[in-house]
């Protein structure tokens, strides 16, 4: 069984982002970049399926700038067998990403596509659903457990009300939630080995995909900042403040 894992290069989750000097976009100069945490979980799940003997080949793919090779190398060090960079210079939207992934899917014919539920930069939570739609296949979004069966896959999903388990026909697109697994760290020998693994570069034009944006970012701003309030001395003062000052309890 072949697994395609889509990963995105994003600002590391520990970075406190700011608007750039003209507030036209996020300041990305000298900012630490990483594999989107949800994508790391997707890679880990693919590697575990391979370790269980279910998956035979794992292909990591990203759509982005040439710098995204770094994140693909990380995925190779984590256990992907080969990687594909679909190189673009412009920031791509979920719809365009899904179209590129569809083109790669058609070439590679994987049984399962594993992706993150959301990229923590744009927080869109769209790409997996869009890809599944374009492929006309089933989707298991926000997965916290997957179990591959003959021709189908059972996916337990984190939904607002609790957990839901679906049975999906293969091929299917699975998007990961946080509790699906805890990703491993790449070992030094594996980081060295990853340098030898194949990394192909493609372009959107070559794949026949129009990636021109449908939306325009007019600007970014900081949200209204909350002022720190006061420290109360004890529980009695807290209750008094909530009753008589904030008037939120009676």
């Amino acid at each position: 069984m072949k697994i395609l894992v889509a990963v995105k290069r994003v600002v590391d989750y520990n970075v406190k982002v700011r608007p750039n000097s003209d507030s036209s976009d996020v300041e990305l100069a000298n900012v630490k970049m990483s594999v989107n945490p949800f994508c790391e979980i997707a890679v880990e799940e693919a590697v575990r399926l391979k370790e269980k003997g279910i998956a035979t080949e794992i292909i990591a793919v990203t759509i982005g700038t040439v710098q995204s090779q770094e994140q693909l190398r990380t995925c190779l060090a984590l256990g992907a067998d080969r990687a594909i960079l679909v190189e673009t210079d412009i920031p791509v939207e979920p719809l365009a990403v899904a179209k590129c992934l569809k083109a790669v899917y058609e070439e590679e014919q994987p049984d399962i596509v594993l992706m993150g539920k959301q990229a923590i930069d744009g927080d869109n939570n769209q790409t997996g659903q869009m890809l599944a739609s374009m492929l006309g296949c089933a989707q298991g979004t926000f997965a916290s457990e997957v179990s591959v069966e003959e021709g189908s896959i059972a996916v337990t999903r984190e939904i607002d009300g609790g957990l839901q388990t679906l049975s999906l026909k293969l091929p299917a697109v699975i998007t990961t939630d946080l509790r699906l697994n805890e990703p491993r760290y790449a070992s030094l020998p594996n980081i060295m080995k990853a340098k030898q693994k194949p990394l192909a570069t493609r372009s959107a034009e070559e794949l026949g995909v129009d990636v021109s944006p449908r939306t325009q970012l007019l600007g970014v701003e900081l949200p209204a900042q909350r002022q720190a309030g006061i420290k109360v001395n004890d529980v009695a003062q807290l209750v008094d403040k909530l009753k008589n000052e904030a008037k939120v309890i009676s």
Partner: protein
């Protein structure tokens, strides 16, 4: 302008978040239709038809809509989208599952989680866990949008009498099926709808200790939430997670207990009107956004709080 809002419901009752999505539709202006797709959902259809701001209910009561499988519902929405300039739904897990699939069928770029309507094609939405607010303009002919419910005040649920149009043909795509579910049972208010939320973090140290919070919640009529660390440690189930990747809440009062205040947690609660933090570490970042901070050990503070309420 003509707007289609997709209702969220459990076949019996509309989810209040839908009333907030309708509020965003009202801000856009124009005719608003409300689609209720479900199975055995007459009660929800009846409720929908009473909402004053809508023109028409579009109802699909069909077994293929049971469990709101995206594979079946998305084509239903896309097939009935013609004539609409906007398709909206509240940004719940159900809509997040379905709406991008609709957008792909219509070949448009969806806009997730809007927190403000600037104009008919321009919206504000939080990005980077709410650390920045983006203003985004859509150039697509149809705007497919999910709405952050906490950012819009619900419309009136009654006072109207909309006509109901019934959709007969719904396809079961036959590629996905429901197997089982484990829904949280609770007599407490739903997290995203509660006016008071009491949340616990890793500092609670165990699931049993959440009883300290439940007792306070019951006195206040509050819902109980949690940080990711508390969910990961299996103190409580996942549906209680508040944050960037959990639920977004904005109650009148949010009490964070034993929660440090990571940006991913703040993303889910910093729009609350009044924030209280109880933490034994006076340097905890949660205090920088709390209106009232109490530096104390929660195991002594919580019983005392319960007795004083």
């Amino acid at each position: 302008m003509s707007i289609l809002v997709i209702a969220e419901h459990n076949n019996q009752q509309l989810n209040p978040a839908t009333l907030s999505a309708l509020a965003a539709a009202v801000e856009l202006g124009g005719d608003i239709d409300l689609m209720v797709a479900g199975s055995g959902c007459q009660a929800a259809i009846d409720q929908a038809s009473q909402i004053a701001c809508i023109t028409k209910v579009i109802a699909a009561d069909h077994s293929a809509c049971e469990h709101f499988l995206a594979e079946n519902i998305a084509p239903l929405i896309a097939d009935n989208a013609s004539g609409y300039t906007h398709i909206l739904a509240a940004a719940t897990t159900t809509a997040k599952n379905i709406m991008p699939r609709v957008a792909a069928l219509l070949d448009v770029q969806a806009i997730s989680d809007i927190s403000a309507v600037i104009s008919e094609n321009t919206f504000k939405r939080p990005i980077y866990a709410g650390n920045l607010i983006a203003t985004v303009q859509s150039n697509d002919a149809v705007k497919v949008i999910t709405v952050r419910a906490t950012a819009f005040d619900a419309v009136e649920a009654t006072g109207g009498s909309a006509t109901v149009e019934t959709l007969e043909s719904v396809n079961d795509m036959g590629i996905s099926s429901f197997a089982s579910e484990q829904l949280a049972e609770s007599d407490r208010p739903e997290l995203t709808a509660a006016s008071i939320v009491v949340s616990g973090g890793r500092g609670m140290a165990s699931g049993d200790n959440f009883d300290l919070l439940y007792r306070i919640a019951d006195k206040l009529g509050a819902a109980v939430g949690a940080s990711r660390a508390a969910v990961d440690a299996e103190f409580v189930p996942n549906d209680m997670q508040v944050g960037q990747t959990g639920k977004i809440v904005a109650p009148d009062l949010y009490i964070a207990v034993g929660i440090s205040g990571a940006i991913q947690h703040l993303a889910g609660m910093k729009e609350s009107k009044v924030i209280v933090a109880i933490n034994k570490d006076e340097e905890a970042p949660i205090f920088s956004i709390a209106d009232y901070g109490l530096v104390a050990d929660l195991f002594t503070a919580l019983p005392e709080l319960e007795s004083k309420l």
